[in-house]
Amino acid sequence: MTTTTSPNAAPDTPAPLADVTRDEASLRRFLHGLPGVDQVGVEQRAAALGTRSIKKDAKRWAIDTAISMVDLTTLEGADTRGKVRGLAAKALRPDPERQDCPRVAAVCVYPDMVEAAVDALKGSAVHVASVATGFPSGRTSREVKLADTRLAVEYGADEVDMVIDRGAFLEGRYMDVFDEIRAIKAASGEAHLKVILETGELATYDNVRRASWLALLAGGDFIKTSTGKVSPAATLPVTHVMLQAVHDWHEQTGELRGVKPAGGIRTAKDAIKYLVAVHEVAGEQWLTPDLFRFGASSLLNDLLLQRRTQVDGHYSGPDYVTVD
């Protein structure tokens, strides 16, 4: 079920950009009219910002903030309810011996695991995110993607991580991609929608910028780099381009949308580089779990170890953090 034109510009597309999504030609003109991204320049800037030296109080703050931004994730064929319950327990008490340790933002699971997660997290502020829409490849019909989304929401997910149709995007069928995001957004109801661009398959920074704007125009609450199933997953320069997109979106519409790098971020040191980028590219308004998340699994334990190092003054080692 694909249409080449939207019936009307949706009321939720902000006024200055309402005309942009009128038809395929307008959308293409807009996306291709965005300023290009110079690869050398953006990679240089990312590398330069990566040399910021974050010490002492700033490091403590950054580690705690990063923990509070983690979407603790398990997305394996071998996932079981037991595995998910263990993950939920970790989400509630990341460092059981340190009462002052913040909780993570959410746990992120496959749709059929949502109930187990919701049940385990009942009464807490930790969100339950579900991947949907034929994750990770998205190579299935619109009906299946919508059903997948509804299922996740029915089971109690309050966040949906969808994947865009990269095939349609690379074919230049931008309106199809746009319509699909809109349809999934509608099917998600109250749940927050994170739109996975799978930047590793988009190949160029220009495409990352266009896909970011496409997802923002279609109403994505968050733009997310990757599924974690494709290499390369999140990188600093790609995240720079996406942070710039939400910054520019805010300048043009006044709306705040979020960014989520996912996959391959394993160390506290890397996480802090991302926070510096959030701070200096998007702006400090984005330094909150409402607008920035890390899609991660092993990152959390490194953050906890570094947190202990900061507090205790010495490194404690991997046997002092819990592995579920």
Partner: protein, 477 residues
């Protein structure tokens, strides 16, 4: 105050091995100069760092004799492959002592440690490595089958890149078989004197390199000395003209690398975010104390507003403060005198009707600091569009068509560098052909490599430094 305050991350000043007293280096030894000692100041705190002995006119003569003797007896006779070993050794010693040199450079000059650490010192080492490679291959450089050195080179360098400018001067001179008498700038003599220690460590034959701290009169004495065969100067156009007058009619070879007022040209089809980065790098790198700084931004009218918005946001994120803090983006102005000059030109911008915008970043209450400043509504007739400010002050002009961009970019007595920002490859090539500037950067700015020749047109000087082309200045061709 924001929620993510970066805690201070200062590099320890102990690493600089700062001594109370430094002395001139003549004939392979540190000697008491007979000039009036000068005190070198940390521009970020206005504290005195050290007392530096200076040379007198008679010391200049002693140094030139030492250089001549080293040239006649050792250096000009030595095979290139042997000279190369000394240059490689110097390059490696610069790397080994890189942290010390970086911290000392930031203390003496006021530039941020991230720049001295990641740019100045590594590039200085690279120049010695590169020229070491040339030392035994000069017959393949295109200057004849057996190109000969000139003899004794007198070299005078500025305060903006003290160690890097020394490397640009000494590396090609030594590689081609010349010996050197070099005067570092009055306000930044320290890394040059540590370099003298490195020459000793490398067991460079005495007299091959001589370093004479002092003021302009010592520079003049070097230029005027009868037994100097070649003069290389980097500094102001005003002094460059004096030198050219002095050297006129003598047999001395001369190269001058002087001021600039580079146009950084942004077209409407540029990668705007990276162009903004390039604009920032072009004018705020080293506090704008760069001869090839992109101090005139020419932006196409159709994107001027958008570029200015992005630029102001980006500039307001620049961190100004302690040069030794690893998170500092903008350090101190090198001297009170330079700060006064910047202020004077900024006032002229106000008086002539340009719109001044200043970054809201906090300004330290001690030391010589000047907040990043952007002037819009600038026109070619204003002083801030014509004169070199040599500080963190950008003048923004607009243009309508590519031809107008070329006309405005070239409308300057200078011609050292230029920048082009467009995603249209054919336009880059077209512009680069039309721009009268020694270096043209496309979709980047302030990139340096020892293999790339650097130099100017018109009042930016003549001669080239770096690359195969740069060897010519030190060869008898």
């Amino acid at each position: 105050m924001g929620i993510f305050e970066y805690a201070p991350a200062p590099e320890s000043r102990d690493i600089a091995n700062l001594k109370d007293h430094y002395r001139p280096f003549i004939g392979g030894e540190f000697v008491d100069g007979s000039g009036e000692p000068l005190k070198t100041v940390n521009p970020a705190t206005e504290e005195i760092l050290a007392e530096v002995g200076t040379a007198s006119v008679s010391d200049v003569d002693t140094a030139v004799r030492a250089a001549r003797k080293a040239y006649d007896t050792v250096w000009s006779k030595m095979p290139g492959s042997e000279r190369a070993k000394y240059l490689f050794r110097i390059a490696r010693l610069i790397q080994e002592r890189s942290r010390e040199l970086a911290v000392l450079e930031s203390l003496d000059n006021g530039k941020p440690i991230k720049e001295s650490r990641d740019s100045d010192v590594p590039t200085a080492a690279a120049h010695f490595f590169y020229h070491a490679g040339w030392a035994d291959k000069l017959e393949y450089a295109g200057y004849g089958p057996n190109p000969k050195p000139l003899g004794v080179a007198g070299q005078v360098i500025p305060w903006n890149f003290p160690l890097l400018m020394l490397a640009w001067k000494i590396a090609p001179a030594l590689a081609t078989g010349n010996t050197v008498v070099l005067k570092p700038a009055e306000t930044t003599p320290l890394t040059a004197l540590v370099f003298a220690e490195i020459c000793q460590q490398a067991e460079l034959p005495p007299g091959v390199v001589n370093i004479l701290p002092g003021a302009g009169d010592i520079g003049a004495a070097i230029v005027e000395h009868g037994d100097v065969d070649k003069i290389a100067f980097t500094g102001s156009t005003e002094v460059g003209k004096l030198i050219q007058r002095t050297v006129a009619g003598t047999r001395k070879k001369l190269t001058l690398e002087l001021g600039g007022k580079a146009a950084n040209v942004v077209f409407d089809d540029a990668p705007l975010d990276q162009a903004v980065e390039g604009i920032v790098n072009g004018i705020f790198f080293n506090q704008g104390h760069v001869c090839c700084a992109g101090s005139r931004l020419l932006v196409q009218e159709s994107v001027a507003e958008e570029v200015m918005e992005k630029l102001r946001y980006r500039v307001s994120t620049l961190r100004m403060g302690d040069p030794l803090d690893k998170n500092t983006d903008i350090g101190a102005i090198n001297s009170a005198e330079q700060l006064a000059k910047i202020r004077g030109l900024v006032e002229s911008g106000d008086a002539e009707g340009a719109q001044r915008w200043t970054s809201p970043c906090p300004v330290p209450d001690r030391g010589f600091f000047f907040a990043p400043t952007v002037f819009s509504d600038v026109h070619q007739s204003m002083r801030i569009a014509r004169e070199e400010i040599f500080g963190p002050v950008l003048s923004v002009l607009t243009f309508r068509t590519p031809d107008e961009a070329v006309a405005k970019a070239n409308n300057t007595p200078y011609g050292l560098s230029a920048g082009i920002w467009t995603e249209k490859g054919s336009r880059i090539l077209w512009m680069a052909n039309k721009l009268r500037a020694g270096v043209v950067w496309a979709n980047t700015f302030n990139r340096f490599d020892p293999a790339a020749p650097f130099g100017g047109y018109q009042e930016s000087g003549f001669g080239r430094e770096g690359g195969r082309t740069g060897l010519e200045a030190y060869l008898s061709v």
